[in-house]
């Protein structure tokens, strides 16, 4: 099918052909032709954000909660540069995004024209791929390719930069074709021999452990379903990274909780002591491995990943399997069923007994108080009182994010949206906007820090405009708590600029944004206030005043091994000061 139309019309047509229902954007001179087309139709809904960073985070939330590609439309120059943080965030967390940027007309490119920037140059290192379209007849092909690249293989953000003259120019539009891409065709099926070897190793294991990550979520709900099947078939314990929460139900007895820097005692000790590590869709990131030369020293490592370059990047593995998680999991299930392996039941029993001893350490315990709300308690209550609702959680970055990961239990994939790789403060609020757009009747909560949320607070205005009843649940400790915690660990408790004086009155701020403000200061008021928040069908800012000095434990201090964790209930000031060695201090 080939039709003549303008470049701007092609953009809308391509989005329609790709099944896009919502885009997040902000207009400007270099995208006006596309905005003009938008105004003349009502199939595609445009959400007007308040900052282009917010547009990308909203598209990320939309993408991560639906499995679809998130779409962004911004103008040239400052529109594009404002989007860079979001694009980098999406790259680090492998979120499929197509971001269309306007550009100055082709004849002005390179002339330092008004609102010109080298968008493809700036975004080259923070996208999976990008394009500058200089021929209107190439536009439709490029747009369809952009969607293909964004969602295929390891997903990621793709930028399509369209000069304004190309938006006006007329050319041939070509629809979707199913021709193969000439160079980019990631393999999805794992090598059968490697899968067989993996099953062989699993059958003999005495202390096995599944270590899974965001790749399972990216692969789609089928991958989570198959993961559950395989894990239950084997009876092995399972842990996951921050990005993978929800792929396996937290209520399952085989679940050990999250691993890594703020992971559970049982998960980290199991990582350290296992004899077989089955890594699926995770990437041995430094938050996970801790001290790399002491990382799981005695284990044989299997690594399933769609991205070949993730394998042997940080940790040398014994059995790599390149492929899509859902496909490889299916192959593993089939191979397991065919082999009907005889497991070393006695050894596995000993292993589980060891794990149960670690569990009994009760590593997430904290001292509850009657006079102030402990942040952990706030999240526990939020979790308890939202049962029975259709809940999606986003977060900002800091202690509250880690507490959310520890205390909010996820049973399903795509329910947990957080900035893992980049750690972007300001991610949660716009992300919640995107999630709520995709799931208008669900309960969407941003578990926030008072510092982070101010970075993208203006998106409250977006929420108000589109009647998006998002809930901003601020764990307000008046500190950049995570920074303060590190200053205690590294810098003798000298709190250099980690206290925010002159915070706004969040209740009034909510009202100023046409939302509802709620405050809780005492544990006794908390439950009613949370119930009220859930009841209100408007955007809510919940100012939850918590203990200002609580720290997030357990913690593997940077530069330490998994079996050297700091625990919350018995840590002393002296432990904290001595926890990080001189060499560990240079790490972030």
């Amino acid at each position: 099918m080939s039709r003549e139309m303008t470049g701007a019309q092609m953009v809308l047509q391509a989005l329609a052909d790709q099944g896009v229902d919502h885009i997040f954007g902000y207009p400007g001179g270099a995208v006006l032709p596309i905005y003009d087309e938008l105004a003349q139709q009502d199939r595609l809904k445009h959400i007007l954000v308040r900052h282009e960073q917010g547009a990308v985070h909203a598209a990320e939330g939309y993408a991560r909660s639906t499995g679809k590609v998130g779409v962004v439309l911004v103008t040239s120059g400052p529109g594009a540069t404002n989007a860079v943080t979001g694009l980098t965030d999406a790259l680090m967390d492998s979120i499929p995004i197509v971001c269309i940027t306007g550009q100055v007309p082709t004849h002005l490119i390179g002339n330092d024209a008004f609102q010109e920037c080298d968008t493809v140059g700036i975004t080259r290192p923070c996208t999976k791929h990008n394009y500058l379209v200089k021929d209107v007849n190439a536009l439709s092909r490029v747009l369809h390719e952009a969607f293909y690249v964004a969602r295929t293989g390891r997903p990621g953000p793709v930028v399509v930069d369209i000069p304004k003259d190309i938006q006006f120019a007329r050319g041939e539009y070509t629809g979707l074709t199913n021709s193969q891409h000439k160079s980019y065709n990631p393999r999805v099926k794992g090598d059968e021999r490697a899968v067989a070897q993996a099953i062989e190793l699993m059958a003999k294991a005495k202390r096995p452990l599944f270590y899974t990550g965001g790749g399972i979520i990216n692969s789609g709900p089928l991958a989570s379903a198959r993961l559950r099947e395989l894990v239950r078939m084997t009876g092995f314990p399972i842990t996951s990274t921050l990005m993978g929460l929800g792929a396996f139900p937290a209520s399952d007895p085989q679940w050990l909780g999250m691993l890594g820097m703020h992971g559970t005692y049982e998960a980290n000790n199991a990582m350290h002591d296992c004899d077989l590590m089955i890594c699926i869709g995770a990437r041995f990131d430094d938050r996970i491995t801790g001290r790399i030369d002491a990382f799981s020293p005695g284990s044989t490592k299997i690594h399933v990943d769609i991205d070949r370059s993730s394998i042997n990047k940080n940790v040398k593995v014994d059995l790599p399997i390149v492929g899509d998680c859902a496909h490889v999991l299916e192959q593993m299930i089939d191979a397991w069923k065919a082999k009907k392996p005889k497991l070393d039941r006695a050894a596995l029993k000993v292993w589980w007994a060891e794990i149960d001893r670690w569990r009994a350490r009760n590593c997430l315990s904290y001292r509850k108080r009657d006079d102030v709300i402990m942040p952990q308690y706030a999240i526990e209550r939020l979790y308890a009182l939202t049962r029975g609702h259709d809940v999606y959680i986003t977060t900002e970055v800091g202690q509250h994010q880690m507490w959310a990961a520890q205390f909010f239990k996820f049973e399903e994939p795509n329910r947990w949206m957080t900035s893992g790789g980049l750690g972007t403060m300001g991610y949660g609020l716009p992300s919640a906007v995107g999630v709520q757009v995709a799931h208008p009747d669900s309960l969407v909560i941003d578990i926030a820090g008072e510092a982070s949320v101010l970075m993208t607070m203006q998106e409250m205005s977006t929420a108000a405009q589109y009647d998006l009843p998002i809930k901003i649940f601020i764990i307000n400790n008046e500190y950049m708590g995570m920074v303060r915690q590190w200053q205690e660990l590294l810098h003798g408790g000298r709190y250099s600029h980690s206290y925010t004086a002159a915070l706004p009155d969040f209740v009034k701020l909510a009202e100023a944004y046409q939302g509802v403000g709620i405050r809780a200061e005492k544990p006794s008021e908390l439950d009613d206030a949370i119930r009220e928040m859930i009841r209100v069908k408007k955007p809510v800012i919940f100012d939850c005043r918590v203990d200002k000095h609580a720290n997030c434990f357990p913690m593997i201090p940077s530069g330490e091994a998994h079996n050297h964790m700091l625990m919350g209930d018995d840590v002393t000031g002296e432990d904290i000061e001595k926890a990080i060695t001189e060499e560990g201090k240079v790490m972030v």
Partner: protein, 180 residues
Amino acid sequence: MAQPGSAYPLEKKEQRPETHTMTVLVDNEPGVLARVIGLFAGRGYNIESLTVSETEHEAHLSRITVVTSGPPMVIEQIQHQLERLIPVHAVTDLTVKGNPLERELAMIKVAGKGEKRVEALRLAEAFRADVIDSSTGHFIFQVTGEQSKIEEFIALMQPLGLVEVARTGLAAISRGPERM
């Protein structure tokens, strides 16, 4: 707790660095070289030599030959990171395939008179370098071969009035009848 260390900046590099020659087959489209070079710069990989030219005009394919060095784990990373770039069709580590043919071309300008000039010409013959430009006061030699030969020739020209050198960088191809 002895021997702290870890996460990326502190990793003790026990692996010895190796030098590898890779060829990268890419779509000849704007920005593709920037992607390849940006990858090396952004991830801190070394480029010792890099050449690029369109080698298949019909298919618009260019061939990049890059010489890089690093510990084995990094070399493996470089190959897989290159493969991840969308316009990249194929990456071959010629060093791993074994003993590739590697050649470079250099143009070497030498100025001088009398005894030195005679000596330069005599050496050029020994190296099978061609004179591609000359006057009574200078020669420009063209020499091709392995890098070591070119290095050696340049070193010999140094005392004989070496003015400047232009080099193409290394082109490489695997031995035998197969395609990369």
